[in-house]
């Protein structure tokens, strides 16, 4: 059965033909049936959700309009602060912590009439590509439960794929929305850096993190972007411009658009994935777009730059988990011993590894060789993208080099896991928007995602292309 979209849900609830309470119960029934197996959530907030849904129905009955997301069920990644509701980042160090405020996106979604179903599982502090690094156990891919949902927003992707919620919110630092979207066969958007307020998003790497939606359809993603984008004075990196209007772009088609094929893209994608990408180019050409060859020579250095910049920023951001203001504490006779014991007990293996590499890259004597160089590579990548976007309106690549992989298949080799993000990382380094749209099936009949990349604030053209691909995939 095709899941009901956010657009249809809101239209139905606003007109009174659909009750928010009934919509919610359909989702909760699916959660009851499959969540024990999938583990998409760290917490299901069913009581609060029922109260909200009832309130929305009451407002509709009273002649009020609850907003553009009236009655739409939403799952929130558990690194988004929700006042009075536990927010863990899937880490022991924050277990039991209840934030004293809501993230801006949470406020905006609530004001638009959304119903929050729960907080979704992630790789601890969003560090990972499989959701295997959660302190509370992995999430399973609803399409094949022997496989990972991707990560780090694996719980959000799985929640949408299993229709536990109509849409979900995630965060993307190096691919953490797009890659799980691809592996779970849903739409995932990483907006332009600064387009969506990060106030209340627990920071991982501040020059890279962005919040974005997971949805079943491109139109739903556009609707969500219209609600969550736009300036917020509480985030000093927020771009001072109003919310994006994207649904109006969807019917415009791709006639005359130039679709870039990166001829020097790093190799390594599976044949089935590349076949889906080729089919996507052909589909857009058939709709009147032209395919142009471009080069992005520094693309291949993105991985190294990312694994220096992101851990460096993380080592600084995660210094706040010191057992003083929130979360757990391991008692010790003095503060230094307390910090070190608390952090050793509270952080998982991958988080420690990244704190270590980041601290090393920033330390005296190594700063220029590592972090300083990484920042210069960022500039090279930005310059190469600028040249490519002089010839092309958007660029297409695979989202992930493979389909969903099996649990434990990356073994104890961190680099093997890092390679999952080869195609998604460069856009984070330069702050551009990118999204993954399901397009066909690859190895083992599992879904493939095509990544559409666009220049800064290029969401309108990116969504036009996404809508065209979605149409062609039907």
């Amino acid at each position: 059965m095709t899941p009901r979209t956010a657009v249809d849900t809101a239209a139905g609830v606003r007109s009174g033909s659909l009750r928010a309470a009934d919509v919610l119960e359909e989702h909760l029934a699916r959660v009851a049936a499959r969540e024990a197996e999938i583990h998409a959530f760290n917490l299901v907030t069913q009581d609060a959700a029922r109260a909200r849904a009832a309130d929305i129905d009451r407002r509709v009955a009273a002649g009020e309009d609850p907003g553009p997301l009236a009655g739409v069920t939403i799952a929130l990644k558990d690194n988004l602060c929700t006042r009075g509701v536990p927010t863990t980042c899937s880490s022991r160090i924050l277990e039991g912590w209840k934030p004293p405020y809501d993230a801006s996106v949470v406020e905006r979604l609530a004001a638009a009439g959304a119903v929050f179903v729960g907080k979704t599982n992630l790789d601890e502090f969003a560090m990972g590509s499989s959701t295997e690094n959660s302190a509370f156990g992995p999430t399973r891919n609803p399409l094949d439960t022997s496989r990972v949902p991707g990560g780090s927003s694996g719980g959000s992707a799985a929640a949408v794929a299993a229709d536990f919620a109509t849409v979900a919110i995630g965060s993307d630092t190096g691919g953490s929305i797009r890659q799980p979207a691809a592996l779970c066969g849903v739409v995932g958007v990483k907006p332009t850096y600064g387009a969506v307020s990060r106030y209340g998003l627990i920071a991982f790497a501040s020059s890279l993190d962005q919040i974005g939606p997971f949805t079943h359809t491109v139109e739903d993603a556009a609707l969500l972007m219209e609600v969550i984008s736009g300036h917020d004075a509480r985030d000093s990196t927020s771009i001072p411009q109003p919310a994006m209007q994207l649904r109006q772009e969807l019917g415009k088609g791709v006639e005359g658009l130039r679709i870039g094929r990166i001829t020097d893209l790093p190799a390594g994608a599976d044949p089935g994935i590349m076949a889906c990408l080729d089919a996507a180019f052909a589909a857009l050409e058939a709709q009147g777009a032209s395919v142009v060859d471009v080069q992005v020579p520094a693309f291949t250095y993105g991985l190294t730059a990312y694994y220096l910049v992101a851990p460096a920023e993380a080592s600084s951001n995660l210094a706040r988990y010191d057992g003083v203001r929130f979360g757990m504490r391991v008692e010790a006779p003095d503060t230094n011993a307390m910090y070190s014991a608390t952090r050793a007990a509270g952080f998982g293996d991958e988080v420690k590894r990244r704190i270590m590499i980041g601290t090393y890259a920033l330390s005296a004597g190594y700063f220029d060789a590592y972090y300083g160089k990484a920042l210069k590579i960022r500039r090279l990548i930005a310059n190469d993208f600028a040249a490519a976007y002089a010839k092309a309106d958007v660029l297409l690549t695979p989202t992930s080099p493979t389909v969903a992989f099996e649990f434990g298949s990356k073994g104890d080799n961190p680099l093997a896991m890092y390679l999952c993000d080869t195609y998604t990382i460069p856009t984070n380094l330069v702050g551009h928007p990118a999204m993954s749209v399901p397009f066909g099936t690859a190895e083992l009949g599992l879904p493939a995602g095509v990544q559409i990349m666009a220049p800064t604030l290029g969401e309108p053209v990116m969504f036009r292309v996404a809508a065209a691909l979605e149409e062609a995939a039907k």
């Binding site: 020059s207 990196t237 190294t304 003095d334 270590m356």
Partner: protein
Amino acid sequence: MSVHITKVDVAKVAKLARLDMSEADLDRYTEQLAKMLDHFEDIDALDLSGVEPMSQPFPLVNVMRPDVEQPTLDRDEVLAMAPAAEQHRFRVPSILGIDL
């Protein structure tokens, strides 16, 4: 750059990062970090002279707000989430090796 990270380096980094580590942890992280740093040597081939570093993707500078009072977080709600609080403050163990 061919820097070879040693166990002594890793122990120093762990101390800087305030992470207690066992000998076994140090051995494992030394091996894993060395592998990563080897992989990162791909950038050694690049000529980066004259390239301006890029620290953030969308440069906004001097983001100011009007200097007017605004609501703040609720003090009691914040302190209720701390591992230890006393007299409206966060309580920590001894900081100077002297228990006052």
